[in-house]
């Protein structure tokens, strides 16, 4: 059987909360990373607090969080996860962040996304996966489109930073679309 956690550049892992907290604490310092990946105000939480959050998240049965490690050096470079927003609708939100900027724009994020989407459809048997991104995050949008996400909407000015309003984009991928794409591959 295929190893569903292994891609071409990365693999999805389970990480100890201590290690994950240390990594998040380090990446939290990077404003560009934060402003690409996150909507909430940037915060510098203690490792102790982040560890508690990571542990709570792991206990949440509606979530499937993973860490991302490179195949080549086994380096921890980010995190990705699915949050089932409704089991009865079989729909989940996907979130990804590559915390280490050395690995931006080189296909690592796209590879991790591919694995996560596959997990959602093959293991969780979801019907669809949704995601949101800031309109100014071109790199992410291209990556998601490559995987098969379709643009579904735009909420106007729902972000505000440095006095500038920006839009959020909303994308989704349906099970049938994804299966069809796998057939062609």
């Amino acid at each position: 059987m295929k190893d569903i956690y292994r891609g071409t550049l990365v693999r999805l892992c389970d990480e100890s909360p201590e290690i994950m907290a240390k990594a998040f604490a380090k990446w939290d310092r990077d404003t560009e990373q934060h402003r690409l990946a996150d909507s909430d105000p940037a915060m510098l939480l203690s490792e102790k607090k982040i560890k508690e959050i990571v542990e709570k998240r792991a206990e949440n049965k509606q979530s499937a969080p993973f860490s991302i490690r490179t195949l080549a050096e086994d380096k921890l470079i980010g995190g990705v996860g699915l949050w089932v927003h409704s089991w009865s609708h079989s729909d989940a939100w996907l979130g990804i962040s590559i915390g280490d900027r050395e690995y931006w724009g080189k296909g690592y994020g796209t590879d991790a996304m591919r694995l996560m989407v596959q997990y959602g459809f093959i293991e969780l048997n979801l019907r669809r996966i949704s995601l949101g991104l800031h309109a100014y995050n071109e790199r992410a949008r291209k990556s998601y489109e490559k995987i098969g996400f379709k643009m579904e909407g735009r909420t106007r000015g729902d972000g505000l930073r440095d006095g500038v309003r920006f839009d959020s984009l909303w994308m989704g991928i349906l099970r049938e679309e994804w299966l069809a794409a796998q057939e062609l591959a």
Partner: protein, 192 residues
């Protein structure tokens, strides 16, 4: 201009960082024994605290951050070796009216008078105005805190309220001064 690249938390000699539950309680405990510093930072009576009590304070701070969502707290570190030199925060945020209170202090005596206060205030204002999008911030300063008075005046804060004899310390009454800075004023300064 939406600037996603300029670091919010890095300045020339200092940076903002999180609380370190392992090493900070001991350092902060020492600061609470420095009554001169505590009388500049806090309006409540001076009270020396043990590291265990500081740890409890940190837990209360983190609980408030998580539950009330109107407190944003940072430790100030030296960039060189990351040692703890102070704290900075935006607190008592009234979201619907867009107001927040700011407070900061350089605790380590040897780290004062080096311009770190200015660097920290600059970061704190960018955070309050550029990340939290507040309409205005307020700083409450006792009249005897000349360092703070000078710092806020340097940054263009306006003296808005003077509560007469609102503080009683060292056998004397002191006024409490509220300084205010609007987001638009801060933006004008940045452009100038």
């Amino acid at each position: 201009m939406l600037d996603i690249q300029t670091q919010l938390f890095e300045a020339t000699d200092i940076r903002f960082g999180p609380i370190d539950h392992e090493t900070h309680p001991e350092i902060e405990s020492k600061w609470t024994h420095d009554a001169e510093f505590m009388r500049l930072l806090d309006l409540k009576p001076v009270r020396p605290l043990s590291p265990a009590m500081i740890k409890k304070q940190y837990e209360a701070i983190e609980k408030e951050i998580e539950e009330d969502k109107n407190l944003f707290y940072f430790t100030i570190r030296a960039r060189e070796d990351d040692h703890l030199i102070g704290k900075a925060m935006v607190e008592w945020i009234d979201w619907t009216n867009g107001n927040g209170f700011i407070r900061l202090g350089i605790g380590a005596a040897e780290d004062r008078r080096k311009g770190y206060g200015s660097q920290a205030l600059h970061m704190l204002l960018r955070y309050a105005f550029g990340e939290l999008n507040l309409y205005r911030v307020t700083a409450v300063v006792p009249a005897y805190n000349e360092g703070a008075l000078r710092l806020f005046q340097k940054f263009g804060f306006v003296e808005e309220v003077r509560r007469r004899q609102a503080l009683n310390r060292d056998g004397q009454f002191w006024d409490l001064i509220s300084f205010g800075l609007l987001n638009t004023e801060w933006q004008d300064q940045a452009r100038a």
